[in-house]
């Protein structure tokens, strides 16, 4: 019966377009082409100042997208990332702020703020993960509702006001690009190694490919899923540190509009919405590509809405590419 179902694919002599579609470097290639094509026509696109600016807005997004990558690999999605960023932002500010913080002026203010932010991010991730594994709820609904709840909570707690007067050391983490880079590089390298070389990484991919087979093969599937959401929460907290430092104040609506960018950049990079596929380096490429579009269209003086339309279109194309890649195998 199944003799017919198991067709043997022909040894492939794939054409150039098909090879390109399958290539891991497609997005990187597109980014380079895009940059080269637009640089001559876009005032200031290739200037050192602009590139530095690009880098500083790119890094926090990259950190948040790393978390999203981990969750997508395991076959889930984390829509609550932006609410975690907002909640962490006001938490950190509430601890460290110079005029209204609990530890205002204390030398422990900055480390305590960082620890509190990581704790909040990790706990929200833990909640997401447990709700998904214990109650077998779809990740989409769980994280959509946590997104709504925690965004609302952040605004309610602060009565929609920003918390300023943060210590300079705290602001420097996100504000000084070289320091941010110094923070992000080891983080990305660590994430890359854990995904590609550790047992945990392999478990993530296996669970994303086929959770039932993974369970039968002795993978602690529930634990792996929970760990993915916790890691995503922690990375969102790190992103919150960077965004808050850049804004120099804790804001309950920080990153409110970034959800599309976070999920979009990850998918553009090549992580699969169907689970089992994704890499830190791919996500980096996706972030670069999305930010290039963002930045160049800004420089061309296009309106916010036009930029949204273009970005939406690009992300849709990336999702289509994901589906196409699955079909091509």
């Amino acid at each position: 019966m199944t003799a017919a179902a198991t067709t043997h694919p022909q040894p492939e002599a794939a054409s150039l377009p098909v090879r390109l579609l399958r290539s891991e470097h497609l997005v990187l290639l597109l980014s380079a082409l895009y940059f080269l094509a637009l640089a001559p026509f876009t005032p200031g696109f290739a200037s050192v100042g602009n590139l530095g600016n690009l880098l500083s807005t790119l890094l926090p997004l990259f950190v948040a997208a790393m978390g999203q990558t981990v969750v997508l690999i395991v076959g889930g999605i984390d829509l609550s990332a932006t609410s975690i960023i907002a909640l962490c932002s006001i938490t950190g500010a509430a601890v460290a702020s110079g005029d209204q913080g609990w530890l205002a002026g204390s030398p422990l203010a900055v480390p305590a703020a960082l620890a509190a932010m990581l704790a909040v991010g990790g706990l929200v991730g833990l909640f997401n993960g447990l709700a998904i594994t214990r109650f077998r709820m779809p990740p989409f609904i769980v994280t959509l509702t946590t997104m709504m709840f925690f965004s609302g909570l952040a605004i309610w707690l602060t009565r929609s006001r920003n918390i300023g007067q943060l210590p300079a050391a705290f602001n420097a983490l996100g504000g000084k690009t070289w320091l941010t880079l110094l923070l992000c590089l080891p983080l990305a390298a660590g994430a890359h190694f854990m995904l590609s070389r550790s047992v945990w990484g392999r478990w993530l991919y296996a669970t994303g490919h086929n959770p039932r087979a993974a369970l039968v093969s002795g993978v602690p599937v529930a634990g792996v899923v929970v760990s993915a959401y916790v890691v995503a929460g922690l990375l969102a907290a790190v992103a919150a540190v960077l965004y808050t430092g850049q804004a120099e104040s804790g804001s309950p609506v920080l990153a409110q509009r970034l959800l599309l960018d976070i999920v979009g950049a990850t998918v553009i990079g090549g992580a699969s919405l169907f689970g089992g596929r994704g890499r830190i380096l791919w996500t980096l490429c996706g972030v670069v590509f999305l930010k290039l579009i963002d930045n160049s269209l800004n420089l061309l003086d296009l309106s916010h809405f036009t930029i949204m339309m273009v970005k939406g279109g690009v992300i849709l194309l990336a999702a289509m590419l994901d589906a196409l890649r699955r079909r091509l195998g």
């Binding site: 019966m1 199944t2 003799a3 017919a4 179902a5 198991t6 043997h8 694919p9 190694f193 854990m194 070389r197 550790s198 047992v199 945990w200 392999r202 478990w203 991919y205 296996a206 490919h209 086929n210 039932r212 087979a213 993974a214 369970l215 039968v216 093969s217 002795g218 993978v219 602690p220 089992g276 596929r277 699955r326 195998g329």
Partner: protein, 513 residues
């Protein structure tokens, strides 16, 4: 009605059908018998358009018939009633019946509910199913689902219906009802092919009988020319040695004096409605078969033993230690392995590579604390070692996604995964290890299973193909309705006795609370 003319088919150099010719005459029922592997399924796959023949022709109602797919077969009026039904359990009977041709309100894309109900009711009356057409199929017992399937065939105006082992999951009254219906269909002039291992039924229902053996027609003629004894003598006579590797007798039975240690012991395992009071011991180096019909509780027992399904009472001991409270993960660590019935859903990560699949269970043993970074060199060596041991086809590259392999090679990947995990040969539970696998790969798999047993593993093998169990097992337990009904030891295997025990009615698996 239908003629087969010199049909031949080979899979991977193994001839499955050789010059098969016979005809199904209009308005008559043809009984098709043969042992598993005789070529019945392949022939029906050719008829149904799932597989093209290598050579030979078919004619349907005088016209040439060469279906390119199952859809074309259905359009030409051929319907299959399988043991595994093709219904949507979540939809109602009427929706299942008219899924592809809903009656509509005029030309509007709106279902004409009343017409739907009336037509469905008429069809259900024809097949003698007394259920409201709006009932969800999942709420029907197996026998009634089958009637729905037959009603569907009638709604598509099928003129030739193939019944492939239709009674395996039916109770005796359900089977009786089916036979009555078949008789009515015959009187209405439908042609049927009836495939079954229950020879008395075949003799009772058929007008003509064809016996296949080793892919050839071993006998054909009107029913009157056959008896159960004659059918059996025509069916048997295969060369078992071709397919089933020989084991040295010394290894098979060490004699009662030196009984090897027990690896897996099951003491009174009971789960209400599933299995009742299962007791057996599996010894080192032993291949123990679980025979029985579909739904007898064999796969369910395997899942309980591996910890995937709950068990209310009883003890499971692995090498003397109780494991019934442990997770599958812990049981794997203790040396239990489970090759599931469903290779695609539970055996493999189809999108992942061959080597990733093989390594999956053994990752932790190839990692260094504290972060669990993998020792790739050691892992790669281990994977290619076991990959060679299972004789995976050389064209299957390590980084190729498993879904690109044939069924036989996929199953070898699953087996390789467990062989690698069980460095110390443990206990291997195999649920339908050769389902959907061509004859060539089967032989390899049997060889590998017996090799594992020779190295000291205990093997518990479940198969719906009795022949397979007879070919590789040292001992066979027969299950029916969730209980073990009989036990046979090599060389005293008796096909008739196994079938009798498997068919034994007896009380239901467990009294309903």
């Amino acid at each position: 009605m239908l003629e087969f003319d010199a049909i031949s088919k080979s899979f991977a150099h193994v001839r499955v059908l050789r010059d098969v010719s016979f005809a199904v005459r209009p308005g008559r029922t043809l009984g098709l018998v043969g042992e598993n592997g005789a070529g019945k399924s392949t022939l029906m796959n050719i008829l149904g358009g799932n597989v093209p023949p290598d050579s030979g022709r078919m004619r349907l109602q005088g016209q040439p018939y060469a279906p390119r797919g199952p859809l074309e077969a259905a359009r030409r009026g051929i319907a299959f009633i399988h043991q595994e039904l093709n219904l949507f359990p979540n939809l109602s009977i009427e929706e299942n019946l008219f899924l592809t041709a809903f009656p509509r309100v005029g030309a509007l894309p709106i279902i004409h509910r009343r017409a739907l109900r009336e037509r469905a009711a008429a069809l259900l009356e024809q097949v003698g199913l007394n259920q409201p057409p709006g009932t969800a199929v999942e709420r029907l017992p197996a026998g009634e689902r089958q009637l729905v399937e037959i009603a569907k065939a009638l709604s598509l105006e099928a003129r030739l219906i193939i019944f492939d082992e239709p009674t395996t999951s039916l109770s005796a009254p359900e089977a009786g009802r089916l036979f009555g219906l078949m008789e009515r269909l015959r009187q209405r002039g439908l042609s049927m092919i009836y495939i079954s291992h229950t020879l008395a039924d075949v003799l009772r229902l058929s007008d003509d009988i064809v016996v296949l053996r080793d892919g050839e027609v071993a006998g054909a003629g009107p029913r009157e020319a056959f008896s159960v004894e004659r059918l059996i003598s025509l069916m048997v006579g295969r060369h078992l040695s071709q397919l089933y590797p020989a084991r040295k007798p010394a290894e098979r039975s060490a004699g009662p004096g030196a009984a090897p240690p027990v690896r897996l012991e099951v003491r009174g395992v009971t789960q209400p409605g599933v299995v009742r009071d299962i007791r057996f011991a599996l010894r080192r180096g032993e291949v123990l078969g679980l025979a029985g019909l579909m739904g007898a509780g064999r796969s369910e027992l395997a899942r309980i033993l591996f910890g995937l399904d709950p068990c209310a009472r009883g003890q499971i001991l692995l090498d003397g230690r109780p494991i019934q409270r442990e997770s599958p993960r812990r049981r794997i660590r203790r040396g239990l392995a489970f090759l599931t019935e469903d290779r695609r859903d539970e055996g493999l990560c189809l999108e992942a590579s061959v080597s990733d699949n093989i390594a999956l269970v053994s990752l932790e043993r190839h990692a260094r604390p504290p972060l669990g970074l993998l020792d790739f060199d050691r892992l790669r060596r281990a994977v290619s070692g076991v990959r060679a041991a299972v004789r995976l086809t050389p064209t299957a590259r390590e980084e190729a996604p498993v879904k690109t392999l044939s069924g036989g090679n996929q199953q070898k990947v699953v087996l390789a995964k467990w062989l690698l995990a069980m460095a110390d040969p443990g206990v291997l539970i195999l649920d339908e290890p050769t389902r959907g696998i061509d004859v060539g790969a089967r032989h390899d798999l049997y060889q590998l299973i017996l090799e594992a047993a020779d190295r000291g593993a205990g093997v518990l093998a479940i198969s719906s193909e009795l022949e397979e169990l007879l070919g590789i097992c040292d001992r066979i337990l027969v299950m029916s309705r969730g209980e073990i009904k009989d036990e046979l030891t090599q060389p005293l295997f008796d096909r008739e006795r196994i079938l009798r025990a498997a068919l034994a009615g007896g009380p239901a698996a467990a009294p309903l609370p």
